[in-house]
Symmetry: C2
Subunit: 428 residues, 2 copies
């Protein structure tokens, strides 16, 4: 049997006898001629037959025939009068036409029928971009001497917050799904200095919104021997630049199909301190947010516009968020201890990444927990690493689905999640 070629390779085989295999994407019957469009992982290819073809769309077919030039065909080539063999029948019609350029279905229909709906090129494209982005994230951090790790998703205590965790029956004992690899990645800074993990995290989010998921993919990084949070911001900048470069290189077709161009990541992303941001907002807008411990979404949007106007950047770091709004392991600014050495990265005025420097001294952890009214004994497992000498360190976490949705302009994060899990959805 002759070697299978991909649809995208057809124009390179004009004059040759080839074999294509894929899904029957579209069938059009004219009076004396049938057009078949076949879809495979590389794209679409057209075949012309001078007889009717009674095969429903999404049937898996194999076409064997000669490639001829045709300026009207996609790629300028088509298969002339091929032999058609059915590899596998489609016994049901798709919930909507997969061959239409747009998606003629509402999101719930798409999600209910994900195994077939995701075959639509526009619905598949975000995941090609996501796969490329993850590859770029890893490549950037590998280059910087990071080690990839895998850590437990089942934990005995819910460290970060008691709320919004999923409980498990663990051999008759209560346990929880990990909300983040925070504890593990910090402990592993003591082992590898620089670590990253790409893995699922779980939030029992009771909110039914366009941006909450019960499971998402967290791109976590943590590094030791930093001076302060700015070293973390520099690594994040490299990671993001790697993600955007990889998306362009490895998922160019998917970006083009969605009409998306990944924005340039500046060598140094502009940064503004939280207090200065509030000053700026008070001075430039009608409102005065000073005294508030966080930025309102409208203020983040305003700052995003400001960064684009003043710095020509779609990205903006806001640093120094008040300690009161950050987790207990956050490192304070020694000179202004009410502010933290943490940051949010805004992209087009929306929060994309959170990170910062963490406490590293055992005594600082004891003091921080006690000050918050927590019993350090309850955190004994978490604190063990810090009793044995931990360097100044920090890190960040990028939500993969969020990154893809912000980049592609998806209205709902479920559009960038293959099989979303939320308050209502547990299948497919």
């Amino acid at each position: 049997m002759i070697h299978r070629i991909l649809a995208a390779e057809l124009p390179r085989h004009i004059g040759h006898h080839v074999r294509l295999a894929g899904w029957l994407h579209r069938r059009r019957e004219l009076k004396s001629v049938s057009f078949l469009v076949v879809r495979d992982r590389s794209g679409l290819a057209q075949a012309v037959l001078h007889e009717p073809v009674a095969i429903p769309e999404e049937t898996v077919v194999e076409l064997t025939g000669t490639v001829v030039a045709n300026p009207q065909a996609p790629g300028g080539a088509e298969l002339a009068s091929p032999a058609v063999r059915v590899l596998s029948e489609a016994v049901e019609a798709p919930p909507f036409d997969l061959y239409r350029p747009g998606v003629p279905a509402a999101l719930p229909t798409v999600l209910d029928h994900a195994p077939v709906a995701l075959r639509h090129p526009r619905l598949r494209a975000p995941f090609e971009i996501a796969a490329a982005g993850v590859a770029g994230f890893r490549a950037a951090l590998d280059e910087l001497g990071f080690t990839e790790t895998q850590t437990p998703k089942i934990v005995g205590t819910a460290t970060e917050s008691g709320a919004n965790v999923f409980g498990i029956d663990y051999f008759g004992r209560p346990a929880f799904l990990a909300q983040s690899p925070q504890f593990f990645k910090q402990a592993l800074v003591g082992v590898f200095e620089r670590v990253y993990e790409v893995g699922p995290v779980f939030r029992a989010e009771p909110h039914d919104t366009a941006r909450h998921l019960a499971q998402y993919t967290s791109l976590d990084a943590e590094l030791g021997f930093i001076d302060d949070h700015r070293d973390v911001m520099a690594v994040l900048t490299r990671a993001l630049a790697g993600m955007h470069a990889a998306a362009t290189e490895r998922a160019g077709d998917a970006l083009a199909l969605l009409g998306v161009e990944p924005p340039r990541v500046p060598e140094e992303i502009p940064a503004i301190h939280f207090a200065d941001a509030q000053e700026l907002l008070a001075r430039m807008t009608g409102e005065d947010p000073r005294g508030e411990p966080d930025l309102a979404p409208a203020h983040e949007r305003w700052l995003g516009e400001w960064a684009l106007r003043e710095h020509g950047s779609e990205f903006l770091f806001v640093t120094g968020y008040p300690m009161v709004k950050r987790p207990f392991y956050t490192h304070p600014d020694p000179e202004r201890p009410e502010f933290s050495r943490s940051f949010d990265l805004l992209f087009r005025g929306l929060e994309l990444v959170t990170g910062g420097q963490r406490l590293h001294r055992h005594s600082d952890y004891l003091a921080a927990l006690t000050a918050r009214g927590d019993d350090p004994e309850a955190y004994a497992g978490y604190l063990a690493a810090f009793a044995h000498g931990m360097p100044p360190h920090g890190g960040f976490a990028i939500g993969l689905e969020r990154w893809t949705s912000r980049l592609t302009g998806a209205a709902n994060i479920r559009q960038t999640t293959l099989f979303p899990r939320d308050l209502h959805r547990l299948s497919p």
Copy 2:
């Protein structure tokens, strides 16, 4: 402040003033001289001071001084009379000496104190090999046109087997932790043709053995448009070759420390059919396993020795396992339907990977489920993808921790798991 260099870079800086930072790995006080060995992510470096240094091991330190040549020092260079600054104190002694070449502690001690125990270079080394192996797996499959995916770890039904699943309280509804991405990766063959996923899988294993874990990392791959299981075996061979090549290239120091040389993966791994393996065993050993539906561990070991003797290969595929021992989605051998188009890959006589061709026709699934006495309705979600045209496909899953343990000769799979989860262990 001068730029930090890594321990391994010291010999390249003889005559220069440098800054090192890391953990105080070892301190030796002689009459008039102190030797400090500092450990960072690159290795060890020695410093000599002409004064006593009262700092306990595992303290995080920064040394600034001039590099001098010393043939006795590791790498032929050392830091002469550096200034020593404590970055972070060790407030507890490690559970055992991290500086001894061997590991002077039993496995339970190591696991109980993992955040500090893993700093021992011999205990850290398997994870450097694992990280390299995963990178090699991905590189090999990327090269072959695979797309990386992330799929749900929370599922509504326990498809593969009702036993050994962890139950979750999912917003008040019962749900389960996924035992494998089997359903999702098959459905995604319909979208991307070729997919892989690196992620956690969960087994509520009631066995307390050296090889069972409640969570492990599964390297899953699935590909469409195959002729039969041999196409899957060819891709697995490429993936394994990629893993071994990457281990050698990226984790050479870790392999050397453990005295491990990754075995050559043959271009074509020898294969023997299950029935022929039983014939061979009957003819060559005192026993007659014919009629048994599976191979006993002793028989796998014998076959491993046979493959090495006859084919010079430490790897051996055993193909065609009886259908009765394989999951319902397994594709039978059309010519001998009691045998399957599945395989096990043995490495040094131990099972390393399982895989095979799957059913792809909707009607075949209905028949297979009905024949086993299962109600296809219970599998409606799983079957949806197959109603819409699925190509002949197959795949495999490699347990990362198992691969690392077999490669490094670890006696217990917990030695190749950062923070193992088992019947008894839920922390750290």
